[in-house]
């Protein structure tokens, strides 16, 4: 079973009363794919099969109105999980319930309440205008003919493409196309929206704008439950109420984003000092107040960048800093290290292994 920090804690931004209903429930979900073998090997051993485990016993309950993130590197199983939720991949084991409907037996009902944002820009019809793209999907989602035009106008306004409604999708910028893809998924007023790495092809400014749009417009204003797959820990922790960390198909951890960040990323700090060889560092390390400092580099002005582990949270870190300064260490900068995804996953794995040994 994965490390569960707090599996029943509801989304932080939602009031308690609205947090009880489960929108998506995944129980013991496993999926493996057959690996394509070289031709010669297939001829020599025609009946042998190799498999790649894409999902391995994944368990998660996502509440209505929650912004939930699946964080993992490439090949972690995020996309397979999303495709299973969208009824595009059938599970090998386990159950997936979306808004009360089983994805295997009630696929059509699932598709009425959950829409994936297919992030591939090519899935748009480039020779059609934004309006025509949305109009097509309005009909495919079964909107009555008399409501199609009004809904298309509404969605164009929500995604901010109303001034460019008659422009061909092929002439849009990447950011506009991402908005159009999101707009396409919003057409049926879905209760649940799947976003698979929506900012991967965007520049940092467009990515930040899109994140704000997702959080404020889609989640808060429209009340959609959003499931986000990302390999950027910054994106997951910034946007999501709760995050599940996936690695090679396994769910390593799940919990509120800020708690996860605190739990696995709190104890490493970066400081700039001119006195890296000051005896205060050794003294505090011997007392186990801080870990052994690691020098990361020296800048042009002679300031040394050091990384040091200070377990115990921000208060302990503040006290340690105070002791260093009192003993004469010159500190120009002191900040918590933002973890990369790789480091985060490594820490979760190490923590789990430690837990097992205990």
């Amino acid at each position: 079973m994965p490390t569960t920090i707090d599996p029943v804690t509801p989304p932080i931004s939602e009031p308690a009363a609205s947090r009880t209903r489960v929108a998506v429930s995944v129980k013991n979900l496993s999926k493996r794919f057959r690996v394509r073998r070289p031709f010669i090997e297939t001829l020599r051993h025609p009946f042998d099969q190799k498999y790649m485990q894409a999902l391995n016993d994944v368990n998660v309950d996502i509440h209505e109105g929650e912004f939930f993130g699946f964080l993992g590197a490439n090949g972690a199983g995020k996309t397979t999980l999303f495709k299973t939720l969208a009824t595009l991949v059938s599970p090998d084991q386990g159950t997936v319930i979306v808004d009360g409907f089983d994805v295997t037996t009630h696929a059509a009902d699932v598709r009425r309440v959950l829409t994936p944002v297919i992030a591939d820009e090519r899935s748009l019809r480039w020779r059609l205008s934004a309006r025509e793209n949305l109009r097509l999907y309005a009909v495919l989602y079964g909107l009555p003919a008399r409501k199609v035009a009004a809904r298309v106008d509404e969605v164009l306004e929500i995604v901010g493409l109303d001034p460019a409604d008659d422009k061909l999708a092929g002439r849009f910028s990447s950011g506009m196309r991402q908005r159009l893809l999101i707009g396409r998924a919003l057409i049926p007023q879905p209760r649940i929206l799947l976003l698979d790495e929506p900012t991967r092809s965007l520049d940092p400014v467009s990515a930040r704008t899109l994140r704000a749009f997702l959080r404020e417009e889609i989640c808060k204003r429209l009340g959609c439950t959003i499931l986000l797959a990302t390999h950027t820990s910054e994106e997951a922790f910034e946007l999501c109420d709760r995050v599940a960390i996936l690695n090679q198909g396994r769910q390593l951890a799940i919990g509120p984003a800020d708690k996860l960040q605190l739990e696995f990323g709190e104890d490493h700090y970066l400081l700039r000092t001119r006195t890296a060889d000051h005896p205060a560092f050794d003294l505090l390390a011997r007392r186990a107040v801080i870990g052994q400092p690691v020098i990361r580099g020296i800048d042009d002005e002679g300031w040394v960048r050091m990384e040091v582990a200070i377990p115990g949270g921000p208060d302990t870190a503040a006290a340690a800093l105070q002791q260093l300064v009192q003993q004469g260490v010159s500190v120009a900068r002191f900040e918590r290290v933002e973890l990369s995804l790789g480091e985060l996953i490594q820490r979760v794995i190490t923590r789990k292994a430690g837990g097992r040994r205990e």
Binding site: K31, F33, R34, A54, T80, K83, A86, T87, L88, V89, S90, A108, R111, R112, T115, P116, I118, D120, R122, S123, L124, R125, R127, L128, E132, R135, L136, Y137, V139, L140, Y141, G142, A145, R184, P188
Partner: protein, 266 residues
């Protein structure tokens, strides 16, 4: 129905945005009718006796055969072609994410090619009429109905080819075999009775043979529909069997692609 029409409309608008290509495709039809006219007139004395049961003139025989074959081509190749395109762009996944039933999606994907083919057939008939083709225009709609049956009788092959694309990402030579077999044994360029007897036995399995006989009788001789009941009965039987088998194959292929996770991979 409205969902299929929405896809047809979108494909239609996309095709029309390539104006020059659309224009040239119709111009090409005119150019193709001209040599057909001269060749058929050169061969008329030789063919007159063998085609008399189906058409008074070889030019008309060829034109109707050509139109019938174009519907076979649409039925066999359009669906897997459209499906391949949708899969490679990722839009098939987007289409399958909607609650649209699969038959409606298939009808939508086929619809544009079919509409274009109906227009092309009309243009060919118009050009051919300018060159002296005699059509019984009062039977035009009945003939269209027969063309629709020809299309339906070949659609199972198209659905089976689409199933192959879903399952294996290739149709192999399957559509080419069906098309070439129908062109050779279906009575497109010559009546089936001139085929060697051992090949003629195989031609009883070719739906186009029955469709073209009925179509020529209707359009070129003005025969009533009742004169073609026997041929059309065989065609309807083939349609029913073909649809049951091909839709089962497509359902299996879709299930396999979902299990293998290859629905959106090309």
């Amino acid at each position: 129905m409205s969902r299929a029409l929405a896809i047809v409309r979108a494909n239609w608008l996309t095709a029309l945005s390539y104006r020059l290509e659309t224009m040239f495709s119709f111009l090409g039809l005119f150019i193709a009718v001209v040599p057909l006219y001269f060749i058929s007139h050169a061969l008329q004395p030789m063919m007159a006796n063998s085609i008399k049961a189906e058409a008074p003139e070889y030019f008309g025989f060829l034109i109707v055969g050509w139109i019938g074959l174009s519907f076979v081509n649409t039925a066999v190749t359009a669906l897997h072609g459209a499906l391949s395109g949708e899969i490679s762009t990722g839009s098939f996944e987007a289409l399958l994410s909607t609650p649209t039933p699969v038959p409606a999606l298939l009808a939508g994907l086929l619809g544009h090619a079919l509409t274009m083919n109906v227009i092309r057939a009309t243009v060919i008939l118009s050009f051919a009429t300018m060159f002296g083709l005699h059509i019984v225009w009062s039977s035009a709609l009945t003939g269209l109905g027969i063309l629709f049956l020809i299309l339906l009788s070949y659609l199972p092959f198209g659905i089976a080819a689409a199933a192959l694309v879903l399952g294996f990402r290739t149709t192999g030579p399957f559509p080419a075999i069906v098309f070439a077999g129908s062109a050779l044994l279906g009575g497109v360029y010559y009546p089936t009775q001139v085929i060697p007897s051992w090949l003629a036995k195989m031609s009883v399995l070719v739906p186009l043979r029955y469709g073209l006989k009925s179509l020529r009788r209707t359009w070129l001789d003005g025969a009533p529909l009742s004169a073609s009941f026997a041929d059309l009965g065989v065609l309807v039987g083939m349609i029913l069997v073909g649809f049951v088998l091909s839709l089962s194959a497509f359902t299996l292929a879709l299930r396999y692609a979902k299990r293998a996770g290859t629905l959106a991979q090309y």
